[in-house]
């Protein structure tokens, strides 16, 4: 694992390297190099399997963190590539040409976080939320509880009675 990261260091600028486990490492790179790095890892380092792609909302820093996790089926190791993009008008280079399934992940991220991937197939079609007209629900400034209460007719909680109080009121209502 360390050898792979060392090799990567000669070719790309790696900001942070975090050895999480023996078979899992997180690497942070900048936005412009990410897709190149993914292509390099796929073609030359044997990370052929694309595991997942997800985003984290760092609202305090005004950033989105996108994580790609790749798997090397021969060496049985995972490598996660992190990149940070601006939260305002979030836009990221598409990687659907490397693995077909990336397009679906990007479509989901567009809907849930509002991160745009220009050129990705069907990225503007609705995925799960059909006809959603609010801000994307996975952004942290979206108040889920408030939205649910306003929209979905919440049922009031069950009333409870303290037995001693209840019996007191029933037997001695005047005291």
């Amino acid at each position: 694992m360390k050898k792979i990261i060392e090799n990567l260091g000669y070719k790309f600028i790696l900001y942070e390297v975090e050895y999480q486990r023996k078979n899992l490492t997180f690497v942070t790179v900048d936005k412009e190099n990410t897709v190149q790095l993914l292509a390099y890892l796929r073609d030359y380092e044997g990370f052929k399997h694309f595991v997942l792609m997800t985003a984290v909302d760092w609202i305090e820093d005004g950033l989105f963190q996108i994580t790609y996790i790749l798997n090397n089926p021969k060496k049985k190791i995972d490598l996660a590539i992190r990149t940070k993009i601006l939260r305002e008008k979030a836009k990221m280079t598409t990687a659907h040409h490397l693995w077909n399934q990336v397009a679906t992940y990007q479509r989901e991220l567009k809907e849930m976080f509002g991160i745009d991937f220009p050129g990705s197939p069907r990225v503007n079609e609705s995925f799960i939320l059909e006809g959603w007209d609010n801000i994307p629900p996975m952004r942290r400034d979206f108040d889920t509880k408030k939205y649910a209460e306003e929209t979905y007719f919440p049922r009031l909680g069950r009333g409870t009675n303290d037995p001693s109080e209840y019996m007191k009121q029933k037997l001695y209502p005047n005291e």
């Binding site: 609705s126 939320l129 059909e130 889920t144 509880k145 939205y147 209460e149 979905y152 007719f153």
Partner: protein
């Protein structure tokens, strides 16, 4: 006006108003939402006037509950065991059917997202009366663990009428069988008239449904 604009926005390409060339060469206007679907309001099904006949019919209905094979949430995993010899729902006259037209009971099995609710409403309205709804799990009662979710409904009875609630998270197959027994009791007593209730309060139900299904690109009534 605003509503119709919204409707056109979400309409599928094949359902939009357009001009087509007929086989004889003439150009005609078609509006699939008007031409392909019936827009007459459904009628309430009155009980049979002779009491003993109605009673007999109710007995017959209670002995053949055919459920629609539509699992909406995690609860649908409780239905397959009912078909196995261990629980064996066939002995009660309950069986699975693949299409809405052949079935008369709908099990809402667990949480309902807005996307699924749209399909559920279409399926429910295509079922033939008399039809019954069993709501399985606490998600259909008060939202369950998804009570504050952005995309999951909290109370099913705001969107469609429910005959029997089966509480639990998840209810065991035995609880489901108990629910069927309860439904049978209700049918035999002539109290399972929720399909008529839906038709009587159709406008209220439709308003609630349209409040959350924002891309309403189907006909208002689907039967």
């Amino acid at each position: 006006m605003k509503e119709t604009e919204n409707k056109d926005k979400f309409l599928h390409e094949e359902n939009k108003k357009r001009e087509v060339t007929a086989p004889d060469g003439s150009i005609i206007q078609i509006d699939p939402m008007q031409d392909y679907f019936c827009d007459a309001r459904p009628q309430v099904q009155e009980p049979y006037k002779i009491k003993i006949v109605e009673k007999f019919l109710n007995w017959a209905r209670s002995e053949s509950i055919w459920i629609l094979g539509f699992g909406t949430g995690c609860g649908s995993i409780e239905i397959p065991p009912l078909v196995t010899p261990r629980f064996d729902m066939f002995r009660y006259g309950v069986q699975m059917r693949p299409t809405p037209r052949q079935s008369n009971a709908f099990i809402i099995s667990g949480y309902l997202s807005v996307k699924t609710l749209k399909r559920v409403i279409r399926s429910y309205e295509q079922m033939q009366s008399p039809k019954y709804v069993l709501a399985l799990g606490s998600c259909t009662i008060n939202g369950g663990m998804y009570w504050d979710s952005y995309n999951t409904i909290n109370r099913l009875d705001q969107y469609m009428p429910v005959d029997v609630y089966i509480a639990g998270c998840m209810p065991r197959p035995e609880a489901l069988l108990a629910g069927f027994m309860k439904l049978k009791e209700l049918i035999k007593a002539g109290k399972a008239e929720k399909a008529n209730e839906y038709i009587e309060n159709l406008d209220w139900y439709k308003a609630n449904q349209k409040k959350i299904i924002k891309d309403w690109n189907m006909p208002d009534y689907n039967w």
